[in-house]
Symmetry: C2
Subunit: 377 residues, 2 copies
């Protein structure tokens, strides 16, 4: 098992490894180490369009691998060419692969300029339910051919070991995402992990209370969408309010996936919200606000999608009317100071959800001065 | 920046570090190294109810830390006591924290027996939007007090470095989740990460095509829930069919979050499904099936939740009627061999979704023999 999550890197707390001329068997992965040193240098802020000199000082040896040293060096030098062709990232999992997808997505957020500045793209390829070694090796070989790097989340330790070995042998840069996290928890709890994939027969099944609670939350949320059934508002864990196109519906369904019953009530100019809204515990109500020009832009996009005529468009996305509607909402917020008001301008659904859930849980947990969302497993 | 994701572990590819009697400054983290060795031993399958002998051979030194060596050793010996009190896991993020939550949840799946066998629980505490160092240190101090371990996802490299240092100093076992993934991608792409948190002013904003596509998908999915608007079935990316309580609604909203328009059509015994369903491209239609007894159990739970009377209960969850309804669905599946039929028995929503999306993308990508879900960024 690769304890560190990163294959092909050997001295965590020392300087980047510089391969020397020694005949150690480790040398055969020198191209990858060079790439890795590049990665470290890059992370620390050095902008590199050309390979760092270290690459050129590294020993070159012909080895019988998918990516021999010389070829790998050429690859490094020809990075601009590669970039134009797009870079591939392989995600390999013996389960759903959502952990790998989620983590790599988050990390890709750190490289948003990449495709903008280089006119190129990053392609991820998710391989789920990879439960036998033969298929695993087939995928890694394919990664080597494509010049892809490989992230893996493999619950079975022997599969994870095979993945690391195959990637090392084939010169595929690899990162074990799940391994270090499992190691950490094992160490902390003082128990061994099961090593079983989610679908394995020995695993505890998912039809527990949390499962039913979550399904109930999702169904509740869909039924309450867009102000339907105001008489049920008191049953919601969280109530979202705001004018049209502040993202109430997608936000509601996202939060519902986490097991909360969410209702949302649209604010339409001149129409009083249902009385039951003001009977809901104020700490459960979240008002969404958004910058005028951004809301107008979103509404224009909406109008295009719907293919509505001009007069209706003006009513919906005309700047004066949008302003009036936002003012209408603001006045309701002012009259209800117990409600949290959240600016959703340019926020992703996940971000607004995180803010709401933190506020929702805030004050319940008195054991710490820093707000947190606590869960029991 | 901790390159390896795991703080307090020093020799990735060698044997577990055994602290010797030398007076190296590294010695002050020996308690953590001991816990770490335990973790490795445990991961490799050794069941330990008592601390491994190595702990007792380790040198003891009084150091002025939150968890001095002696206390840490006591902790290790008294693991059964701690377990009863519940174990805390801190998740610290300068963004939403969903990456940490998702990854740690996935890893916790490897310890499902823990609470069952030990009668104890694991508590996770998510701290999101931790964007200044002072707050970060405050949280880590709190972790040290609670005897918690700490996972962090910090986009800002200097924050990540501070987290590692503080955890090391305070004897908090820590794992950097995002760091190794970002390192890997930086190395692979040959560009530096931005180091900017999601909310930072320099970050590219989220109101792009993918954002609108996703919102549209969610709204479509909600409108099409439970067989409404059968005339729109042709506009769906994915159509789910199945009898009541096979999880169509939660599955639809989950898949919609990933940007697919999903419609679902319930199969009710004796009622012909809408004709438009059979005009949908068969590769887009997914039939859900489930084991008879499991479906009956789920329906009984449902009946309890709804508080329905006995006769209605018998109609809905009586074993004969459930069997007939499943047979009815099976016959429709048989008549439509182009539909994929998926057994959802004991599957989590995420798992069924992964199966469906893999099948949905299968055959589109001819560059590999192994089915994959490809995405462009």
């Amino acid at each position: 098992m690769n304890l560190h999550g990163i294959s092909g890197h050997h001295e965590p707390n020392s300087e980047p490894p510089i391969p020397t001329g020694s005949s150690s068997p480790k040398l055969k992965i020198s191209p990858k180490l060079n790439r890795w040193s590049r990665g470290r240098a890059l992370r620390s802020g050095v902008k590199l369009d050309r390979p760092i000199p270290r690459s050129d000082n590294s020993p070159r040896r012909q080895v019988t691998e998918a990516q021999p040293t010389d070829e790998a060096d050429k690859k490094t030098t020809a990075i601009d060419v590669e970039v134009t062709a797009g870079k591939s990232i392989y995600l390999v999992s013996d389960g759903t692969g959502w952990t790998a997808e989620h983590s790599v997505n988050a990390a890709l957020g750190q490289f948003e300029d990449f495709s903008l500045n280089r006119g190129s793209s990053v392609n991820t390829h998710l391989f789920s339910w990879v439960e036998d070694e033969e298929r695993l090796i087939e995928i890694i070989k394919q990664a080597a051919k494509e010049g892809a790097m490989c992230f893996y989340t493999l619950a079975n330790p022997s599969m994870a070991k095979s993945a690391k070995q195959a990637c090392d042998q084939l010169g595929v840069l690899s990162v074990d995402i799940l391994g270090p996290i499992i190691e950490g928890i094992a160490s902390h709890l003082g128990v061994s992990p099961s090593g079983l994939t989610r679908g394995a027969p020995g695993r505890v099944k998912t039809l527990n209370d949390a499962y039913f609670k979550r399904i109930e939350a999702i169904e509740f949320t869909i039924k309450q969408d867009d102000g339907t059934l105001p008489e049920n508002l008191s049953k919601a864990d969280i109530v979202l309010v705001g004018v049209s196109r502040t993202g109430k519906t997608p936000l509601s369904t996202y939060i519902a996936q986490k097991g909360y019953k969410v209702a949302n009530v649209p604010f339409v100019m001149g129409v009083e919200p249902p009385r039951t809204l003001f009977q809901v515990e104020p700490r459960k109500v979240f008002g969404l606000k958004i910058q005028l020009v951004v809301l107008q832009a979103i509404r224009r996009t909406r109008v295009k999608t719907l293919g509505v005529d001009t007069e209706a468009e003006n009513n919906y996305s005309g700047i004066d009317l949008v302003r009036k509607e936002l003012d209408f909402a603001s006045r309701i917020y002012e009259r209800n100071p117990g409600w949290a008001v959240i600016d959703v301008t340019n926020k992703a659904i996940e971000e607004t959800a995180a803010v709401i859930l933190r506020l929702y849980h805030d004050g319940r947990d008195t054991s710490t001065t820093v707000p947190r969302i606590s869960k029991r497993y």
